[in-house]
Symmetry: C2
Subunit: 332 residues, 2 copies
DNA sequence: CTGAAAGCGCTTACAG
DNA sequence: CTGAAAGCGCTTACAG
């Protein structure tokens, strides 16, 4: 593996000259520059970006911390953040917290140790806030995505969960539903609290009696929600509509319904949240709330980049408005 | 941001001592070690891994190059590779080629520039092989995943596409189908060629006339395959079964079928390939070939790690055998 | 058991 | 227009 010294020797110039040729800086004669570039090509020299970063006290790496890359919502976010970073010649470290606060902490420390210039974090549930405060002191730009932490001094990009839930609840009420369940999300999740609040607020506005027993928590995977949905069917046959916390949760619920040969859309209405691509593949296709993961990823990248370049405005909260996507799972 | 020098000054020791304390190396008196560690804690010093890497001429970063992180098959692979890397304290760079050979080239060069210790690559279609040969000369470990390139001297982890296609084709024939189409994949894809060969070989073995017009290419997304499926229905109404190149392709085909109110499983049989989680969410659930993306990711990580640690055995080709998953899209 | 010094591969301020 | 030298934050072989 050649270094800048080898290239310099090969051309009979100094390493300073090679460096300047490589970075297109300083005033080199075109002839010298050409000679160097040719040597680079001939030797197959490859620039050591990490050495340059060390010397310049810079970084062109950013970290992305997710809970579950396997969730299509997050993989779309990853893609668009990645595209944004590529445009600005930054590399992306990817890590998965799997919703473990301890693991998340380790990962963030690892990001710092690896000298990221900034990071976007989808916080794990139960993350201790003290840690984030010390993180802030490190002066490294952090933007929170998807899940907000209500820590005033962090940038955040996400959606309006309260509003999204309102949209979908009102839609069901307009269709005549009165016994509406809310299924999914974990106890203690801020996101869930907001969606639940949206659902409740619309119920109240419409003078519908709030039955707290109609809201159910479950893990965000198909298996867990399938089991829960079966429980709902067994114990609350009066329910005519269920608002699922996420599309993934709705998929699990659908399994339970299909197994029992219950006609979704006719006998029961079902809704999701996120509008991942798969939501249009189910049968019936899922009525859901669209939250553009792509847009969140892009915006988060944009904000992060600005911070990395020294922007010190007050923290921004960018809210991508959710929209109602009507398909066939509430009738058609 | 403190450095090792600050910590050393704070404790009144040399930087060598701090370094040794940090790495648990050398013979330091427990008292000194404790003093250093305490200072680290107090100052909030964080280790600069990149500086250490430069000095040691090591790396604890690996690169993962994918075509489409948005495809659930690849996100599962990413997750399991990531887990494997985390176990060994390596960070993962993620990049998306979006199947552009030129972009892929840029990314690989960027990986090298950022001093990855190795990389796993799912090659983009149409990658020029010369480039891979020069890559080989750089001595940096590379393992190919999912798509093989038939370059003898690279490690590869993937599945047996030929065998998988044979499994599913035989299944359809056993169910009585004779007019079987093959839908999807791009011209020039090695993977497609192998699956197509499996399909053809079983047809021939069963004395079924091979109709070359029954095989169709299309991009691996829902929209493209929906359009193609509509074409098939319009022009070849005699077809009773279609083998889709991937689950994603099958999802698009399902859309076309649902739109036309054709009963999947009864009027037409449909199969996928990959067994991504969503394959069990469709209605009817998709009969498909299971290829464990998790297993591929894990194994690829394992092989890469061995290479990084200096293993110089001959290149390995690890084939994860595919299995047939019978659900309801071919009748039940 | 601990310190002084060289060096990993770059860049840049300073001379010339 | 180009070179010699110092320094980014580490580690390790060598002294003591």
């Amino acid at each position: 593996m050649y270094t800048i010294v080898d290239v310099a020797k090969y051309c009979g110039v100094s390493t300073a000259t090679v460096s300047m040729a490589l970075n297109n800086k300083g005033r080199l004669s075109p002839a010298t520059r050409a000679k160097v570039l040719e040597a680079v090509d001939k030797l197959g020299y490859v620039y050591n970006q990490t050495a340059a970063n060390l010397r310049n006290n810079e970084s062109n790496q950013v970290g992305l911390l997710l809970n579950d890359i396997t969730n299509p919502f997050y993989s779309e976010l990853t893609l668009s953040l990645n595209q944004e970073m590529e445009l600005h010649n930054k590399m992306l470290f990817l890590a998965n917290s799997e919703d473990s606060p301890e693991r998340q902490r380790r990962i963030i420390e690892s990001f710092i140790s690896h000298k990221v210039g900034g990071m976007v974090i989808c916080p794990a549930l139960g993350l201790d806030l003290d840690f984030l405060v010390t993180l802030k002191r490190r002066q490294i730009p952090v933007v929170l995505a998807v899940r907000n932490l209500e820590i005033a001094d962090y940038d955040f990009v996400g959606t309006d969960n309260f509003q999204g839930a309102r949209l979908i609840t009102q839609h069901l009420i307009n269709l005549g539903h009165r016994k509406i369940a809310f299924l999914g999300g974990m106890q203690g999740s801020k996101t869930r609290a907001n969606r639940l609040a949206g659902y409740i607020s619309v119920l109240l506005e419409n003078d519908i009696n709030l039955e707290t027993k109609y809201s159910f928590t479950c893990e965000s995977n198909r298996k867990a929600s399938e089991i829960m949905m079966n429980g709902i069917l067994d114990h609350y046959p009066e329910i005519t509509a269920v608002i699922c916390y996420q599309d993934i949760v709705a998929f699990g619920a659908m399994r339970a319904l299909h197994t029992r040969n219950i006609n979704i859309g006719k006998e029961i209405a079902l809704t999701g949240f996120d509008d991942i691509p798969e939501a249009a593949d189910t049968h019936p296709e899922l009525t859901t709330i669209s939250v553009s993961a792509k847009e969140i990823g892009r915006k988060a990248g944009e904000v992060l980049l600005k911070r990395i370049h020294g922007n010190t405005e007050n923290p921004q909260h960018i809210i991508i408005p959710p929209t109602l996507i009507i398909r066939h799972s509430c009738g058609s």
